[in-house]
């Protein structure tokens, strides 16, 4: 069964706008859809924007980054100023039937910094007189912005290239050249999307030109495996060095991924599945 792509829609509720999210929030989630929905919510000029995750099946680290991006945007446009805006929205949502997020928060103490992942405050009016918090929060916000911008500049590009070859109707090969690290996530998932269309039942990763793989790269392979298992496909590899074969053994990845010495061997195994 294909993965459910993220869908987002907006509705107005007393005290704020609700952004209903459905499907999977991961590297495949169309950021433009999320951005457009957020912009639509923002256009309603709400006191707060509530992210409703009730229809969300899966969130990975890239999905978390997308949500943090929304949070950064909310803070940039209206820095957090205190907690009053949260209360009317929660009260307003009291009788709303299907808000799972709200149901999980009854009686929780109002803590704006905790709540921002779910409820993004967009304070309006003059809060200059709010006791104590405004200046320090603004200072913190500016500091976060500075570090964020600096890190964006410093963030290296993925040092990896991946090519996709269809060996036959059922088997695709992804040639990995370079480094498999956290920065390779987008490249790997794009390659997988390209490789897995149609009737493909097995994906073969060619690691002959793999230069370096770290624990984040292993995490990526696990994420890929989750997708592949869900699609009822198989993942196979060839070309791993002795060192990385050993790492696959230590991590038990070799139980879940077929490891072969040559492409011919891997394709033959894939064809016989």
């Amino acid at each position: 069964m294909p993965a459910k792509q993220l869908e987002a829609s907006v509705r107005q509720e007393p005290g704020g706008a609700v952004l209903d999210l459905r499907g999977e929030i991961n590297g495949f989630a169309p950021q433009e859809a999320l951005d457009a929905a957020y912009a639509e919510a923002e256009a309603k000029d709400p006191e707060a924007i509530l992210l409703n995750f009730e229809g969300v099946d899966y969130i990975d680290s890239t999905g978390i980054a997308l949500i943090v991006g929304l949070l950064a945007r909310a803070r940039l446009e209206a820095p957090p100023t205190g907690l009053p805006p949260l209360r009317p929205l929660r009260r307003g949502l009291q009788d709303h039937p299907p808000l799972g997020v709200h149901e999980r928060l009854p009686g929780r103490r109002e803590r704006p910094e905790r709540g921002v992942g779910v409820l993004m405050e967009r304070a309006k009016g003059n809060e200059e007189n709010l006791p104590g918090s405004l200046q320090s929060l603004r200072g913190e916000h500016e500091e976060i912005q500075r570090i964020y911008q600096q890190r964006r500049i410093d963030m290296p590009q993925a040092q990896v290239k991946m090519g996709v070859r269809k060996v036959n109707d059922k088997v695709s090969v992804i040639d990995v050249k370079g480094e498999l690290t956290a920065f390779a996530e987008g490249v790997l998932m794009d390659a997988y999307n390209q490789a897995s269309d149609g009737r493909v039942r097995a994906i073969v990763l060619n690691f002959e030109d793999l230069e370096y793989m770290n624990s984040s790269g292993i995490g990526l392979l696990v994420t890929l495996l989750i997708r592949i298992n869900r699609e009822k496909q198989r993942l196979l590899t060839y070309g791993l060095s002795e060192h990385y074969r050993n790492i696959f053994h230590i991590t038990c990845l070799d139980d879940a991924i077929g490891i072969y010495y040559s492409e011919e061997e891997a394709v033959r195994a894939a064809d016989s599945m």
Binding site: S61, R151, M155, E179, T181, S215, G219, V222, I247, T251
Partner: protein, 154 residues
């Protein structure tokens, strides 16, 4: 953590790196260069490189939060019977727990564990001993390779 005070110690490397993503590879190559005279078997060298890279990445990410102005310090010593590599960050929180949840692939595939979280597990499996410690201003991770055994092995 025991400071290497033995008279038989020899400093092989001492350097710092800014906490910038990707610098773990520089750390790994630098340490590999520094220990090249020890004649480590290829397999041991590859394991050491992976352990150094993972420990440096942890230090940059979790300790120094990838603040490029906060460096990671790396030192390597040849002691009487072992190679000791020490990686120090300036993290303030508790040090990483060497007894943290062991990654379980089945659990990860079922969604019960995050797909990530392999770093410390890898390090532990790459070296003969891993020691972790911390104080309010630093986290230290020490990697030990037993040279005597390597000598015995050939």
């Amino acid at each position: 953590v025991t400071a290497p005070r033995s008279g038989a110690r020899r400093t092989l490397a001492e350097f710092t790196l800014p906490s910038v993503p990707g610098n773990e590879r520089r750390a790994m190559e630098e340490v590999a260069r520094a220990v090249s005279g020890l004649g480590l078997p290829e397999r041991t060298l590859e394991r050491l490189k992976t352990a150094v890279a993972e420990a440096t990445m942890n230090a940059m990410e979790h300790g120094n939060r990838y603040n490029p102005e906060v460096p990671v310090k790396i030192q390597a010593w040849r002691l009487e019977e072992c190679l000791l590599v020490r990686i120090v960050d300036r993290g303030g929180g508790p040090p990483p727990s060497p007894n943290a949840e062991v990654p379980d692939l089945e659990a990860k595939l079922e969604g019960a564990q995050s797909p990530r979280g392999w770093g410390l597990f890898l390090i532990k499996n790459m070296v003969d001993e891993m020691r972790v410690s911390g104080n309010p201003g630093h986290h230290t991770i020490e990697l030990v390779i037993n040279l005597k055994r390597e000598d015995d092995a050939g």
